[in-house]
Symmetry: C2
Subunit: 381 residues, 2 copies
C-alpha cells in the first residue's frame, strides 16, 4: 500500500485513506468477512453493492480448502473468487487457537486438527506468512498467539512474548519472500487486559516498523469497559501515521466507539452471522425478523435503506422466507446488515470530515439507548 | 389466458404460445419450481436471467405459510414475491398425498398434518380452488387425488373417479368465485398406468372443457417405458387446441421425449434439487462437481453457457464452494441447471420452428448415450 494519508480528525476520530494494488481504502472502514473465498451467501457484485470496499479472507481456512498453492496458480485470491477490490487476510493464528480443541502451541508454531477431516496440520510464523504471500491479499497479518480471556498474567505474557518472536519471523519471511509493492504486513498488539503488557507489546511491535498495526486478543470474553480501555490505551501510543485495525470487532455501537477512540479498520462475522439467524440491524436497534409482528408488514425493514432487500421486498416477505426456512432469506438478510454497516461507516466518515463526529456519536447513542431502553452509559466508551 | 396458438409442428412435437395477464408463454417450456414464493436460493432477477418465463408455485405450502389471505392482501403472489412474469400454481393435491404420512383421503377432501408444526388441516376441491384464486396465479390446477404407483386397479379407478368429481367442483367453484380474464383453470388426467382408465379420464376431463390439460400421476415410481406409453396415449387423444402439461417431469432426456410426444409444458424440482447436491447438467451429461478431478480446472463448467456461474467462475471455484459447504454454491449450481433447462427448451423450440426436431432429438440422444455409455434404446420413448 502507498502512504497512509490522514485526511481529517474530529476529536480522536480519524478519516484517512490509503491505496492498494486493488484500489483505495477510505477509513474508517468495516471489512465484511469472507472466510472461505466467499462472503457467505453473497456474490462479488452483491458484496460491492452493499458498499464494502475491502473484505477479509482467512489463511487458515484457505490453506485447508482449496489450498494456497491452488489459489496462487489461479492468480491469487482476487482472481479465484472474482473480487477485484482490496483483501486483507488473517494469518490463521486466531483460528488455530479458537477452532481446534486439540491444538498444541509451542514456540515453533501451532499443531491443529482440521475441522473437516480430522487431519493434523502444523503452522508456524514462516509458513503463515508464505501462505498469505501466495494467497496474494493486499494486507497480510503476522501470525500471533491469541490467548483466552481469564488466563494468568504469566500465560498472557508468555503468549505475548511468543507473538513478538513470531512477528520478527513474519517480518523476516516477508522481507525474504514477499514484495512490499504488492502486499503490506501488519503487526498485532497482544497483552490481554494488562496495561503493562499492552504497553510492552506496543513498544516491541512499533520497533519492527510495520505498515499498520492491529489490536488483537480482544472481543474474547472481556467486558466492554475493559475492551474500550485497552483500545484507548493502544490508540494513545500507536503511531498516528499508520492504520489501526481492531480485530474481530464488532457491533454497530462498538464501531462508533472504536472510531471515537481512533481506530481506522474493523472486521467481524457478526453482521452476517446474526443475519443468518434472522437478526437485522436498523437505526432503531436490532430486530428479530421472525417475530410475528412482522408477518403482515407491507413496508420495507428500513424505508430509507438502499439495499437489495429494502429496495425490493416487504418486511412480510423476508419474514415469510425465514419462517419457510428458505435460502434466499439468508442472502437478503446478510446484504441488509452489511449495507447497514457500510452506511454507518460512510456516515461516520462524513461526520469526521465535517468535524461533527461527536454530534453524530451522541445522536447514535441517544437512539441506541431509547431503542434498547438503556438508562446509563455503562456500554459506552 | 388468450387463445392457445399452435405455431408449428415437427412430427408430433409442437411449438405454440399463449398470453397471460403477466406476459407471453412460448412453448415447449420448462417451469422452475418456486414452491414457497421463491425458487430456492434465487432472486427474481436471477430466475429471469436463467431464461425462465413462467414459474410454478404451490398452493399447499403457501396456504400453510404465509397463508393465502396474506398473499391476497399483498396483491397476489406476483407482487408478494416480486415476480412479474406468469405463474402456475399446483393445487396441493399431490403434496397432501405425498408429504404427509398421516393424510386421510375421503370423498370430501384430504386431511393432512402440517410438516412444520404438526397441526391438522383439511382441504377440499372448493377450498383448493379458492386458495389458488386468492394466490392469483395465471394458471391454476384442479385438486386431484394422486395415487401411488403399484396401487390396485380398483384403487386407481376410485382415485380417478374422485378426481373427476373434484374436477367438476373445481370448475364450478372457479366459475362462481374466479375470473377467467385473470386466471385459467387446467384439468388433470389421472388413471395410473391403465390405458383403459387413462382413456376414461381423458374423455371425462375433455367434457369439462378446461383451458388446458395436465397429465398427472406420473413420475411416481413407474418405469420410463410406462411413463412414455401413458404420455403418448394422452397426447394422441388430447385436443390439439389446448396446452398439454406433463406434471413433475423431469430430466433433460424426459423433456426431449415429452416434447417428441406432443407435450407443451413441464415442471420439476429436479434441476434445482440435484444442483444443491452438486450435480450439474452439461451437454455431455450430469457431473458431480465435488469430484476431485474438478479441483483445479480453470475453465468454466460449460464454456458456451451464458449463466452467472459459467460466465464468471472457474470450475475449480464452484468445486471449492461445494467442498467448503458454502451457500453461494447452492445458488450458482441452481442457476446453472435452470439455465441449462431453459437453453434446452429454446433449442428444442427452434428445431420445431425449423422442422428439424427429429434431427435435434437424434443428436441429443447420441450425445446422451455416449456420455452415459448406454448401448441400447431402453430409456428412449
Amino acid at each position: 500500500m502507498d502512504e497512509f494519508k490522514l485526511i481529517r480528525t474530529s476529536g480522536t476520530a480519524r478519516a484517512a485513506e490509503f491505496n492498494t494494488l486493488h484500489g483505495r481504502v477510505s477509513t474508517p472502514i468495516f471489512m465484511p468477512v469472507g472466510t472461505q473465498a466467499t462472503v457467505k451467501a453473497l456474490s462479488p457484485d452483491e458484496i460491492k453493492n452493499t458498499g464494502a470496499s475491502i473484505i477479509l479472507g482467512n489463511a487458515y481456512h484457505l490453506s485447508l480448502q482449496p489450498g494456497v498453492d491452488l489459489i496462487k496458480d489461479f492468480g491469487g485470491l482476487h482472481a479465484f473468487m472474482k473480487w477485484d477490490n482490496p483483501i486483507l487476510t488473517d494469518s490463521g493464528g486466531f483460528q488455530a487457537f479458537s477452532l481446534s480443541e486439540t491444538n498444541k502451541i509451542t514456540d515453533e508454531g501451532i499443531t491443529f486438527k482440521s475441522q473437516s477431516d480430522g487431519s493434523l496440520h502444523f503452522i508456524d510464523p514462516e509458513q503463515a506468512t508464505i501462505n498469505q504471500i501466495k494467497i496474494g491479499a493486499d494486507i497480510i497479518m503476522c501470525f500471533d498467539h491469541c490467548i483466552e480471556y481469564g488466563a494468568s498474567q504469566v500465560e498472557v505474557e508468555a503468549a505475548m512474548n511468543r507473538t513478538h518472536r513470531w512477528a520478527s519471523t513474519c517480518k523476516q519471511t516477508f522481507y525474504e519472500f514477499g514484495d512490499d509493492n504488492m502486499q503490506s504486513l501488519f503487526g498485532i498488539i497482544q497483552g490481554g487486559a494488562s496495561t503493562e503488557l499492552r504497553l510492552k507489546s506496543l513498544e516491541f511491535m512499533s520497533s519492527l516498523d510495520f505498515e499498520g498495526y492491529a489490536i488483537g486478543g480482544l472481543a474474547v470474553g472481556e467486558s466492554k469497559t475493559t475492551m474500550y480501555d485497552i483500545v484507548n490505551l493502544c490508540n494513545r501510543y500507536l503511531s498516528p501515521e499508520k492504520p489501526r485495525y481492531l480485530m474481530g470487532v464488532g457491533s454497530p455501537e462498538d464501531l462508533v466507539e472504536g472510531v471515537a477512540s481512533g481506530v481506522d479498520m474493523f472486521d467481524c462475522v457478526m453482521p452476517t452471522r446474526v443475519a443468518r439467524n434472522g437478526s437485522l440491524y436498523t437505526k432503531h436497534g436490532r430486530i428479530n425478523i421472525t417475530n410475528q409482528k412482522f408477518r403482515d408488514q407491507e413496508i420495507a425493514i428500513e424505508t430509507d435503506c438502499n439495499c437489495m432487500l429494502c429496495s425490493n421486498f416487504s418486511t412480510a416477505y423476508i419474514h415469510h422466507l425465514f419462517k419457510a426456512k428458505e435460502l434466499l432469506a439468508l442472502r437478503l438478510a446478510s446484504i441488509h446488515n452489511l449495507t447497514f454497516m457500510a452506511n454507518l461507516m460512510t456516515d461516520i466518515r462524513e461526520s469526521i470530515l465535517n468535524d461533527t463526529f461527536e454530534n453524530y456519536r451522541n445522536t447514535f447513542w441517544q437512539t441506541y439507548k431509547t431503542a434498547n431502553n438503556i438508562k446509563n452509559d455503562a456500554v459506552r466508551n
